[in-house]
Symmetry: C2
Subunit: 246 residues, 2 copies
Amino acid sequence: MQRYKCIISYDGIGFSGYQVQPNKRTVQSELEAVLAKMHKGMAVKVSASGRTDAGVHAKGQVIHFDSPLVIPMEKWAMALNSLLPDDLSVLSVEKAKDTFHARYDAIGKEYRYYLQMSSVRDPFQRNYAYQYPYKLDLETIKEASQYLIGTHDFTSFCSAKTEIEDRIRTINAIEITLEGDKLCFRFVGNGFLYNMVRILVGTLLEVGTGDRLPSDIPDIIAKRDRRFAGKTAPGHGLYLWKVFYK
Amino acid sequence: MQRYKCIISYDGIGFSGYQVQPNKRTVQSELEAVLAKMHKGMAVKVSASGRTDAGVHAKGQVIHFDSPLVIPMEKWAMALNSLLPDDLSVLSVEKAKDTFHARYDAIGKEYRYYLQMSSVRDPFQRNYAYQYPYKLDLETIKEASQYLIGTHDFTSFCSAKTEIEDRIRTINAIEITLEGDKLCFRFVGNGFLYNMVRILVGTLLEVGTGDRLPSDIPDIIAKRDRRFAGKTAPGHGLYLWKVFYK
């Protein structure tokens, strides 16, 4: 048996999220179906750095699995990709130690959120950026984002359905940059709670329109109550960009 | 009755091309269905600058139609877009003279063809660029492209099924530029025959791999026979970018 670590990318639109669900097309079920085929029906369990929701994209999701197959390293990605559907691609495969775990060994993640600031619908961006027709003040958004950096209890910024008890996370960096008519929000942190990036973006947008003040952010954090933060931005603007390991 | 000129954009993947065909989803049929709805069932004929094939995209297709409806000019695009599917969008609507014709008045067009030069499949580009894993010599492609510029009989570079007799066209400019890992071919000319841009690209790629020489191009033109040119590049890399009028 050899453990393999893979970086994968997927267009989230065609998937009901990452994790296996009965009768749904998910990233994990497509990967496990292909591995079962390669292993002549033997079940191969795939573990990821974390789940992504329906419609959420990945540029650099990380998974691991164990296999007894003897395949030259440079052929692994091609072998997997030749069987995978074209909205899911293995970017790289490498050997990992038996103790490597895609989820437990991750020390940080980068997510990006893309907003298309346009009043006219762009058919090419409909699945890949959140079309936002309202005027935004980028400077106040940037100012507000600085209050989020650091170690906080992010209970206000995660889904009320979140079961995990420890909601303390560290955000190392938030960068907001204009790329043509698209606004890119880049979040780097040690971990993100369920819906956290989407709620952070939704709240920052409410600052950008003037409905909230940058200085409201510390109060929202202090409330530790989802109802005080902004709306959850749609999933199709969100990308799991990179997972960091030691 | 007032004639309207519109610039429209569509993601070609979900359409069986521009033109109405029985039992197929086409751009023209979607537009005419929405206009019929707005006109309480009255048929409104839509004319475009030209057809596009299945899978071919448009960033700036031009259409015209006539309507008796009294709608403030700034509301027209929104009214149409609110009824159109999200892979087809009206970018602008303006009043045109009764004699304006989207096809007959066009004096030129710009097409772009996008190639993704990568051996790894990118899920986000699968419908929007032709993934090309082979090594290309860009300088010889550029050299070959210069032989295509000017006024020529492009019979060798159009589908053998082309019914039109006059195959003389003028190409004003061909620009080939690298944008990250994508190669963009930009063609500007007074008109393009059926499959012409895709065959031009397919032939230039065969120069880029070394299977043909740049100096073969004048011979291929002189043959006036489709069999002497290269393969037809896939439709999903092609974009009708702009239509020019006087």
